[in-house]
């Protein structure tokens, strides 16, 4: 999000920030996932972004995002990893052939990712998954000026967690534990918040 447009170098810089943020959050995310699932979400997210951050990116934004998808596929094939790869792939399709993308296209890219991920994972909005975070972020970006986008995304990611407090997870491993999952954050939504925080350069603001 360098000055209203996105290019290869902007993506590279963003990936580096997210990789660092994901690495720092790995233990927290493993623990959150361990409460309801198999405890690997921190590994998934940190390995995936580390791989993407160290990939050679072509100048074409679409092809660059395709590399990100492939990087995730290569190292992290858990649900989250596959979904993130699916999301990158959808954004790649929409941006292929461009070397810069306007910031205001972001909202449709996030929405495209959300839709592809819903198709792949057969999930619905309201299931208390990362889908809800994406949906909220895409909607928030719609109304935000370029300079406010980071803040808007951040609030949306944060608000999603708050909005689902007390509601049970309806998808993935966590689904088994209606009661317990209601009292806890969805690990995937939490991971998404950590990603957005890192993107926005606001890592380390503590637990949501």
């Amino acid at each position: 999000m360098t000055g209203g447009t996105i290019d290869r170098d902007g993506i590279k810089a963003a990936l580096a920030r997210v990789a660092a943020g994901a690495g720092a959050a790995a233990d927290e995310l493993n623990a959150a996932d361990g409460q309801l699932g198999d405890g690997d979400l921190g590994i998934t997210v940190s390995k995936g972004f580390a791989e993407a951050a160290s990939a050679d990116l072509p100048e074409d934004v679409g092809l660059a995002l395709l590399e990100c998808a492939k990087a995730f596929q290569r190292v992290s094939s858990s649900s989250y990893g596959t979904l993130v790869a699916t999301g990158f792939m959808a954004a790649a399709k929409a941006t292929k052939g461009k070397t810069t993308v306007q910031a205001d296209e972001l909202t449709s890219l996030v929405a495209a990712a959300r839709d592809a991920m819903m198709a792949r994972g057969k999930g619905s909005l309201g299931d208390k998954t990362v889908l809800d975070s994406l949906d909220a972020v895409s909607k928030a970006l719609e109304d935000a000026a370029a300079v406010d986008m980071a803040d808007a995304a951040l609030s949306a990611a944060r608000d999603t967690l708050a909005a689902f407090k007390g509601k049970p997870c309806k998808l993935g491993r966590a689904r088994m534990f209606a009661e317990k999952s209601a009292s806890l954050d969805d690990p995937g939504q939490l991971a998404f918040l950590r990603i957005v925080e890192a993107l926005a350069g606001r890592g380390g603001e503590g637990a949501a």
Partner: protein, 332 residues
């Protein structure tokens, strides 16, 4: 971390290297993280592939072999292989008669196997079908049975589907039999101590000294209760009761039973469990055919056990008893 390894990052690849070196008569690794039969797919036979995370040996790769599977894609410990790897496994399993994808119901695996199917359809014109194992009775109520986790029951499905494919039946028929086997399985697990995913370096849960967790999943997914460790017969009774509540057996019924260690629990204790299992089905008047007691689907060094039942009719029993061989299980 009390594990014997070189580097967490090389755990799976070095394991697979040793695995194929030790059993070259059964297993080849034609591409990284893909295990196939040394001779490749069998011409005219439906291929059967599975896939899933590492850390469950002999599941998944171990069940590649005559009368079992044709190929397997294998991921990091407890993580799905990639769709690319699954597509490669499908290609290696293909003998021209289509390929059945037969694997456990986990989100990552399902999404990736779906993608892999799309890939080989587009790129290789290979027809694929899917049967997903969802045998863990505690992981969803009966009304949502299709959402259950797939656990040790899959080894029965591997065996039976493999035998069906060996009759040279077509893809739809093999798929039908595999689905029937999957539907006939019920499993439940319990655990006493966790295992360590090498790349995590520490356990993601602990169970207090003198405690156990009933219903735990094979990746350490939470179970249904955690409390004081009970006597073996009481543990077995609860496991059998929960299976029977979901799938009753009656006098004259035939079934097979797998009493499976998650890794550290020794054979000695599995036999103590099996003793009770046998008594329970003797009481019912149901006959246990070809019981399996051992380490068939593990979670590395986790302490605990699972029980699986599979209700048998003539067809399933015939396929269960058909000749088959891999490094861990031989029939006939």
């Amino acid at each position: 971390m009390k594990k014997i390894l070189n580097r967490p990052d090389s755990y799976v690849d070095e394991m697979l290297e040793g695995f194929t070196l030790a059993h070259p008569e059964f297993y080849a690794q034609p591409e990284r993280r893909v295990i196939a039969r040394p001779g490749g797919g069998t011409k005219g036979k439906v291929g059967i592939v599975t896939g899933g995370g590492s850390g469950h040996l002999p599941v998944f790769t171990g069940y590649v072999g005559p009368g079992f599977l044709d190929a397997c894609a294998i991921g990091d410990v407890f993580a799905s292989p990639s769709a690319e790897q699954m597509a490669a496994a499908i290609r290696h399993a293909d003998g021209g008669a289509g390929v059945l994808r037969l694997y456990g119901n986990y989100g990552g695996d399902v999404m990736n196997f779906d993608m892999a199917g799309e890939m080989v359809d587009l790129e290789n014109d290979i027809r694929t079908t899917t049967v997903v194992l969802a045998d863990d009775v505690v992981s969803a109520p009966k009304e949502e049975a299709e959402k259950r986790r797939g656990v040790a029951g899959m080894i029965y499905a591997f065996k039976i589907a493999g035998a069906a494919a060996d009759t040279m039946a077509d893809l739809d028929e093999v798929t039908r039999v595999a689905q029937k086997a999957a539907d006939a399985c019920r499993s439940i697990g319990m655990a006493l101590t966790p295992c360590i995913v090498p790349q995590a370096g520490k356990a993601h849960f602990e169970i207090g000294e003198g405690e156990m967790e009933m219903g735990m999943g094979i990746h350490g997914e939470p179970g249904i209760w955690r409390d004081k460790l009970k006597p073996a017969d009481a543990i077995t009774d609860e496991m059998i009761d929960r299976i029977l509540a979901d799938r009753a057996f009656g006098k004259g019924d035939r079934l097979s039973v797998l009493v499976n260690s998650l890794g550290a629990t020794p054979l000695e204790e599995l036999y103590i469990i099996y003793r009770r299992v046998k008594a329970r089905f003797d009481d019912i008047g149901a006959e246990i055919v070809m019981p399996l007691v051992g380490r068939y689907a593990t979670s590395m060094e986790m302490t605990g056990a699972t029980i699986t039942t599979i209700a048998l009719d003539e067809e399933l029993e015939r396929h269960l008893k058909a000749p088959a061989a891999c490094a861990y299980w031989r029939v006939g």
